[in-house]
Symmetry: C2
Subunit: 554 residues, 2 copies
Amino acid sequence: MAKKAEKIKIIPLGGLSEIGRNMTAFEYKDDIIIIDCGLSFPEDDMLGIDIVIPDITYLIKNKDKVKGIVLTHGHEDHIGALPYVLKKLNVPVYGTRLTLGLVEIKIKEHKLSDIQLQKVDVGQMVQLGEFEVEFIRTSHSMPDSCAIALHTSLGVIFHTGDFKIDYTPIDGQVIDLHRIAELGKKGVLVMMADSTNVERPGYTMSESNVGATFENIFRNAENRIIVATFASNVHRVQQVLDAAYNYDRKVVVSGRSMVNVIAVAQDLGVLNVPEGLIIDVNDMDQYDDNRITILTTGSQGEPMAALSRMASSEHRKLNIQQGDLVVFSSSPIPGNEKSITRVINQLFEKGAEVIYESFEDVHVSGHACQEELKLMHRLVKPKYFIPVHGEYKHLKQHAKLAESLGMPKENIFIGQNGTVFEFGSDYGKINGSVQSGKILVDGLGVGDVGNIVLRDRKHLAEDGLMVVVVTIAKENGKIAAGLDIISRGFVYVRESEDLIDEARKVVKSVLDGCEQQNIREWSLLKSSIRDSLKDFLYEKTKRRPMILPVIMEV
Amino acid sequence: MAKKAEKIKIIPLGGLSEIGRNMTAFEYKDDIIIIDCGLSFPEDDMLGIDIVIPDITYLIKNKDKVKGIVLTHGHEDHIGALPYVLKKLNVPVYGTRLTLGLVEIKIKEHKLSDIQLQKVDVGQMVQLGEFEVEFIRTSHSMPDSCAIALHTSLGVIFHTGDFKIDYTPIDGQVIDLHRIAELGKKGVLVMMADSTNVERPGYTMSESNVGATFENIFRNAENRIIVATFASNVHRVQQVLDAAYNYDRKVVVSGRSMVNVIAVAQDLGVLNVPEGLIIDVNDMDQYDDNRITILTTGSQGEPMAALSRMASSEHRKLNIQQGDLVVFSSSPIPGNEKSITRVINQLFEKGAEVIYESFEDVHVSGHACQEELKLMHRLVKPKYFIPVHGEYKHLKQHAKLAESLGMPKENIFIGQNGTVFEFGSDYGKINGSVQSGKILVDGLGVGDVGNIVLRDRKHLAEDGLMVVVVTIAKENGKIAAGLDIISRGFVYVRESEDLIDEARKVVKSVLDGCEQQNIREWSLLKSSIRDSLKDFLYEKTKRRPMILPVIMEV
């Protein structure tokens, strides 16, 4: 039995008040385990940033306690930060078949070695220090997705992972409602549950519905069919393959991640690919258009993805033809609407027909809507509840949903990343916080771009820059005649020669003024140049380019 | 009667294959008239740009022909480019009451003089050269909106403007279906119709529906109510005022455009404001929270708008309080989703309740859905049809809709901005194109930012820059020791001193190499520095900052 004073700490390092970057630490006695290790994609104001990962300072400080990382499933927002985290914290990683298959691709890409991957089957228990970790099957837009139950001597913590409730999943592997019910009956101390779709009433449709739509589309199509979807949505991919097979079409696979995931999923037996169904793009010419399906990445309008390159005629091997039927089997992730629309417009302009969300049921979500969330709450009936995986508005709505089911308000905890949620057998509270934050990855740099660099990028992006180089004679300290002005991203230089000439005069008169007043301090000289030019340029153009004075002693 | 050889040219200069920037020229014999003169907001890749306006080169070239600008209504995408266009082409501007009221605000802001504004009533005819211009009442999300019928001796051209069909408009001024039917019966040569909502099946709800929702909200609210909407949606504003009045609340108006539009609309008698209903923000303290309504701008999450400043605690006079009820009476314009969500999250974090699109009927569109478009097509039954006001996908869907009503495919014309649509009494065709394009406005500069400047801004935004200054002795041409490297937006300089030191060495060795090979040509020197640094930095960081070598002869 747990002693009265014992407590468990739950510390989300990502995924609260944001979509993505899911990562939570659980600390009990001298052990820490981690559920998920995701990335997020940069916000609009994070110029030039590739991805964003959690700050794991707290884990590094407690390195010796960390027993392992447990993965719920293989989406980027759950595994994407692994390569970066494992470089600093090489602990065993536990996950199901497909999840680890996708992790392996990452590990290869990052050329990591000595990584300890431990495959787990659903239903299995793994002992990690004081935690007994149980993997429970759920439904989601990716096979082999799991909820996690952490059994401790203080009680059970149940983390839903990303989930929906699909009574007719493609692979027949239904969410393990029995086990969840059993846990609920025995008593769950804390539940953490996916809040992504908490704003949507009703139920999420079954993945099988999409298959019915595909059937219709494939039955009637007379030309090539191009289907764009997430590579990781293996069930969706399976349904495209099935429809192609049923209607005697070959499948060309396009896009690096699509090729990779299909290979891994097929290897692991998660994806069933009939012999000869998938053909090489170079063999496409051997078939009539009505015998071709192209399965591609780019459903979010990502500029470098295969579909976008086809749409803008930048794909080396695939062109959009008059009459092609393009299906966006996806829903726009907030922020991607305009990119997707751009691609759709380009496809229409090239004479393709395009089916997207507004018109047919070519996509279903992977996340539970309100009624499914209620079922989960009713089955698990936890003592305490932490809504996770969502922006603040989602967490708030999820808290309300729990209240509407009769949960006492004081048993529901909304926190931030870094918040320490502390639970004893008979209490729950927020108890301070640990260091957390967004680590920006730009190229090879992890964390070397921060607010100052971003602020400069933003400034440069808005109004460009003007570099002013002035030379000063070393021997007598006299300000030499040398003066050069260069601008980029500010105005068309050729059409603005007068403006640059005038700017030169402004700098000249500042230098003359400094000479007369015998000002020799460079920092003063620089700030005088900056201030005068700034005012001059703003008056003339109502713009504020970055002004970079450089003084060279010669 | 028109002679056989006579023809009319319709030349859209904005609004085709895009949302916004609506402007179309109509040319018949020696006269040109223009319908609308709108702006659009910059795309994501137009860094630092404030607004985008049409290229009017064609009109300038034919200056003497232009008889006037006719406005359908007062939205920015229909009048926003006027101040810029009138500076180059000062022709009379025709519009209804509120439309011109809003134009006057712009003219004052731009300090224009000698502008000829001609107020027109709905139902009125205006003779502009060879065109008889008829203003016909429609419904839209702004009072005094019109369709335009251009009567020529060749036939009638009917332009719907932005419209919906609202049988129960707030001001009781129903769209003039009788006149439209009459025109249709007599025969319309060409129709141009709004395509904005062509993807949506069914009917757009009446503006009155929103009033019913407001009633509910106001009846039950116990604290302050904050309603965000477009200032120009005067009917919506009226409904907020009505609800406040009915439930004994005072109204505080917040945001410059909200204040301006309410003043103009009240002046013109378009808005009915009971005496004493609107109070000054400074008098707010005299009332209990349940007697206050705040009517504000910011429904699109615009960072500088009043609501956004309240949400981020940057508003001088208004703070969000625990229990405030904030209503977004609006729907996100594509591209604004994330900004809006950011504001919603901030409001929730401050303890406000927030009602937005997902939950209640607090907004209806101002544009016709499919069934309304069908009614318009059936009433007007034009010989030729040009879908307008939409991205390519909308134009395409609208063409399909017209076909589904039995219109021959060859009588439907989809073009681009600049396309010359030519019609005779018995033919229609696309006949070449005129200069058109996007003129970018940045601060005071109109058209001085183009592709090169934008490309540089993008480059700077992604990876920042590195300035390398090298001095060369004038007398002997010897490359002097002077070398300075400055970077911005690239890496944290303090944490990357080693990298900068190494970069310095790379430049040094380039200079030494040039010295040895006796290379004195500056352009060569510059490109050598640029290439070597580029490779070095990419290898070290996988980033490509802009590299600006400056050589100073001293």
